[in-house]
Symmetry: C2
Subunit: 150 residues, 2 copies
């Protein structure tokens, strides 16, 4: 497995993260890598929220992966705190390298460190490989994920 370093994202990483978001069958239709303005505004909002953890993976000084972890307190399950994983992206050059596993393992470890009792995520049903990937990592595909664009 290659040697990756996972660290908090900085604003200098925005172009590399957005390029990965756009280099994706679903992302290609909904990202605008030529105009970073909305991403910069969103980054500032993320940076100001202590429950948001946007990280990148570096390899040989290049950003080759990203993941967003959100910590959510709640009353259910005896006041359990849960975490949600969003926006997992791996650079095309690094797919199959084990980096996806490394990023998810980072997210699970960080969730444990933050006293979460549950880690959850949703994956578009059209991403057929994702289900096997997450199940191999111990996740249970127990839920239906609903979305409403507003």
């Amino acid at each position: 497995m290659s040697d990756f370093r996972i660290r908090p994202a900085s604003s200098a990483d925005i172009p590399a993260i957005v390029a990965m978001l756009a280099d994706d069958p679903l992302g290609a239709q909904r990202e605008s890598p030529d105009d970073l303005t909305p991403y910069t505004a969103a980054f500032e909002r993320l940076a100001g929220d202590p429950n948001q953890h946007l990280v990148v993976a570096e390899h040989d000084g290049r950003v080759v992966g990203s993941l967003q972890l959100t910590v959510i307190p709640g009353l259910s399950r005896r006041g359990a705190t849960r975490s949600i994983i969003e926006a997992v992206r791996i650079h095309a050059d690094e797919r199959g390298s084990g980096l996806g596993t490394r990023l998810i393992e980072w997210a699970v470890d960080e969730s444990r460190r933050q006293n979460c009792q549950l880690v959850q995520l949703t994956s578009d049903a059209s991403r057929t490989d994702a289900r096997r990937f997450y199940e191999r990592l111990g996740f249970e595909a127990s839920h239906v994920g609903f979305k409403l664009s507003i």
Copy 2:
């Protein structure tokens, strides 16, 4: 439709909310309504987080419903902010009254007010009525929801 009032939850609502969480086929196995200590700690954490909105629905002065809305900024979808609905519960006396619809409509309206572009939620696959309910409200069951207990 009955006359419901939806308002932010206060700590005095914790017993009523926990009773609803426990009065549920899944919740019965994982809640402890006789010991409110963990719920009180979680409520304080929710109350201190400006991106968390725990609300209750009142009818004739009684708490008969609850919902948690979390606002999550992010880079993907051109820096879209999304919201997540969790812990929707309706008191047994009020099921079929339209309160579930009222609570979800409140969450969608509040998400719009907070400039979210997407509302999402997951529902346990064993809750077979939930799919029809959310689809009727315009949600698309486009995702698979994964969970990992840690």
